[in-house]
Amino acid sequence: MSPALTVYIKECRESLRDRRVLLNSLLLGPLLGPVLFLVLMRLVVGRELEKAERPLPVVVINAERAPELIASLRQMGLEQKPPVADAELAVREQRIDLALSVSADYGADWRAGQPAQVELIYDSSRREANSDVERLRGMLESYGRRHGALRLLARGFSPAIATPLVIATSDTATPQARGALLFAMLPYMLVLTIFIGGIWLAIDSTAGERERQSLEPLLINPVPRDRILLGKLLATATFSLASLTLGLLAFLLVGHFMPTEELGMSLALGPHFFAVALPMLVPLVLLICIAQILIAAFARTVREAQTYLGLAQLVPLIPSIVLSVLPVKAQLWMYAVPLLGQQLAIMRLLRVEPLSALALSLSAVVTMLVAVVVFALTRRVYASERLAIST
């Protein structure tokens, strides 16, 4: 049996017996992203949906002065609450969110064709009430517009006279693209899963073995050090890949529970996404694992290695932020940048946008090349005399 394989089997066996590794690689790593996502989406999206559909409770003062208006508002979803003594005080004391008061002259003004007044009482510094205020304002305006048009018609004018300007909106974001915007963090979540999956094995490969004084005996065996490194890398990558696979599967599952339909979005989190994303990310898994091993090899203790690798996890945030903040158009060269290329490709997959074979192979080839370079670097670090010496 080749020495690299011997090391690989031993590392995997030992890691499978380590509760800390199992928890990180096979549970926490894969589930963190999807669960966080589900909760966030439910919270943010769920609340918006709720607000749009549920009845709008409003304290109405002097409703009897405008029965027609109130009836119309109730048709639009207003839930009439009994009046309170001092509405302004009640709003200030946060006993009620919003009150609508009909002025004393309402009936007279309305009949005379004069602007009739209603008053909205609210506190604009209370942000959670603002959408309710907007909704009520919208209802009132539409009531006003309708009657304005009727009055013009009654006098023989076209209502168009009062509407010199019309704003037409056309949102070019496809439903899929709108969903992908919400999912701008998903590529980072996946990359993070790769990181978390391999982290303990990477730390253990040098800093951990040195701290437990087992690295020196290991290196005395008649095995070239790069074979030992290779075995350790493959074991790290195996756990990382397992973590990524579980993470992708969890995202597929979570995709079903996402309220995307209600929002008129769809996300391509189906089997096709899984089938393309997983092999696409394999070179990145290798690169991240060997980079983690390299970084950990510089640390003297496990704790130090943890600190370094914790900071390294923030690096893939850079392309995520770039992609979500700057509306850059995807250029071919971007696929040649490890991390950026993969994150870009994931975004496009989610949006069901075409992804050329050239872009995919460019990303894979360059990432593999960089991984090979980092491997060569790590090999040099492994060859150094000081690697094994713990005291």
Partner: protein
């Protein structure tokens, strides 16, 4: 047989090993004796190719460490200064892991591990994970994995460190047994009793240099002391004086 010739190694300005030469013969136990910090561990680390000497040569059974380190490592069984085990593997798995790295196939590895487990009296330990092993149990496991390939030359760095009386006794018996099999045994220690009880030849090392060499009787004669411990103190004191720049 292990031959070291004019070995030198510096760490920055510190000359850890400064011209060490000696020979450890087959069928003998050679003791490398010296105070802490004398350069014993560094000398041994160069011998088992973990470090490269700045100057000098090392040969094990005629093979040079500089030219063929992997071959030398195959000829050596080493109990190094660090002797950490894999705590989530059983004692047997620890031993068989090293057997595989030494190139033994599965059957050979199993047979060798069985033999060592029996010889070292580890039957009760073999199937247990090494987490929670006592110091003595750990040293036994570390020795078993170091010797799993049946090396002709055995190198042990402070083998009895941290062992109780019983464990020390059984370790000494085991080393005598290796010697009886015609193997070359080289051990380092800072303990007088150890060399007196065990070693055929003694190499005293201080300040990175060999300051005296011979059998226990020869050393007593050189130092004109009847007691080996007194002889050791005498020789070390003389070395201290000469390295401080005084007259020899």
């Amino acid at each position: 047989m292990i031959e070291l010739h004019e070995l030198r190694k510096s760490f920055g300005a510190v000359r850890a090993v400064d011209g060490v030469s000696f020979v450890a013969r087959d069928g003998q136990i050679t003791g490398l004796l010296g105070p802490n910090g004398a350069g014993k561990t560094t000398t041994l680390r160069m011998l088992y190719t973990l470090m490269r000497p700045d100057a000098g040569t090392i040969e094990v059974d005629g093979r040079s460490t500089a030219e063929d380190p992997l071959a030398v490592r195959r000829l050596l069984g080493v109990l190094p200064d660090s002797r950490g085990l894999y705590k989530r593997l059983t004692a047997r798995e620890n031993i068989e892991y090293f057997a595989a790295l030494q190139g033994l196939d599965r059957g050979e590895a199993r047979a060798r591990a069985d033999w060592l487990i029996e010889t070292l009296g580890m039957q009760d330990l073999a199937a247990r994970r090494t987490e929670g092993f006592s110091q003595g149990e750990r040293v036994k496991t570390a020795i078993a994995r170091a010797l799993v390939h049946g090396p002709r030359n055995v190198v042990l760095d402070e083998p009895t460190n941290g062992l109780d009386v019983m464990a020390t006794r059984s370790l000494r018996e085991f080393l005598r047994r290796l010697k009886g099999e015609g193997r070359c045994v080289l051990l380092s220690t800072h303990l007088m009793q150890e060399v007196a009880a065990l070693c055929d030849r003694i190499v005293i090392i201080a300040h990175g240099r060999v300051v005296a060499e011979g059998t226990a009787d020869e050393l007593r004669a050189v130092a004109s002391e009847a007691n080996l411990e007194e002889a050791f103190m005498h020789i070390i004191a003389a070395a201290d004086k000469s390295s401080a720049g005084g007259a020899p």
